[in-house]
Symmetry: C2
Subunit: 167 residues, 2 copies
DNA sequence: CTAAAGTTTCAATAATTACTGAAACTTTAG
DNA sequence: CTAAAGTTTCAGTAATTATTGAAACTTTAG
């Protein structure tokens, strides 16, 4: 496998994986491309490499910027915008974990709470609903807190966590 | 909010969440329904409550069984099959985590390895590709091992992990 | 100011994914 | 064995989601 094939394989794998955990293919592919690029890329270069339209590129770049994964760069004396992604994998994971927590886990926790705090009318069905949704709520909340703690230290959270868990 | 509303809200939230992390809506809803039900349900009952077709119910139930989340039950003297889900949230999480590791993380790790082990032709581009995909590979592999370790103890893995990480 | 370069928006359309329903199949009671 | 009860399959269709491309908009050099 040569460079071009390997790069393509990486971008495609990342694209597929992305859609598995809720970000779309193009968005994941753009991120992958920037992740292995030696310098920031312009919109033209991205469109060209990934064979996607200008509109698609623009929208997905904006989402990536929203997530805090990609940043705009300006080259001296150039009008065009260039884009680059966070290159440190741990920092990248931190950003993604925080965003997912905020966008998905926390709203779910909130809804679960609304469900399990309904008034108990004494029937077995209601009792079961309350019991089970409360269990799920507590798990989700704890997992979320755990995730945030693990990931909230900018440096070496991974090594630290592993050390603690494995001993 | 009364019982019926709360139950519906739970099923819908779970359905939406499910699609966010890669299982489809109907599948997540069936699981949710069984999760708060006081007894195993027949296919008819599931179809009826969720207003989905027989075919859809059958296929998604099978997937849930494949995942090991749902089991068939037989009632004495009855021909019909009844279905129930794992009711313990920690056990449920364990099963899901294991399946996701096996189906998604491990194949991704494998592909990343194929990419970062290409022969280094000495160019900056190749070096960057190797460096970055190796970093991602190592992170994914470590995270996967970590997840499996955390979750591989049937009892109280959550409490134990929290204890270790928070101190 | 204008023109050129660049970016964003969004309605139309393509691609993907999920769902239905009826037919085929399987199992079991009699 | 047959008929009834139940389950599965899958081609067709519906619903959803992603993508295009052209027009509108923004910015800046001159």
């Amino acid at each position: 496998m040569n460079y071009t094939e390997a790069k393509l394989k990486f971008i495609n794998t990342w694209g597929t994986l992305g859609s598995l955990w809720g970000i779309n293919k193009a968005m994941a592919q753009i991120q992958a491309l920037l992740f292995v690029s030696t310098s920031p890329l312009s919109m033209e270069e991205i469109m060209d490499e990934l064979k996607i339209s200008r509109g698609n590129t623009s929208m997905n770049l904006r989402q990536l910027i929203d997530w805090g994964i990609v940043t705009k760069e300006f080259k001296a004396g150039e009008r065009k915008e260039y884009f680059s992604t966070e290159k440190n994998v741990q920092e990248l994971t931190r950003i993604i974990a925080k965003e997912r927590s905020r966008r998905e886990i926390q709203p779910a926790v909130k809804t679960l709470k609304e469900v399990y705090t309904i008034t108990d009318d004494g029937t077995a069905e209601t009792k079961e609903l309350i019991k089970q949704t409360k269990a799920l709520h507590d798990l989700a909340e704890t997992a979320d807190i755990m995730l945030n703690k693990i990931v909230s230290h900018k440096q070496n959270w991974l090594t630290k966590s592993i050390f603690k868990i494995f001993n």
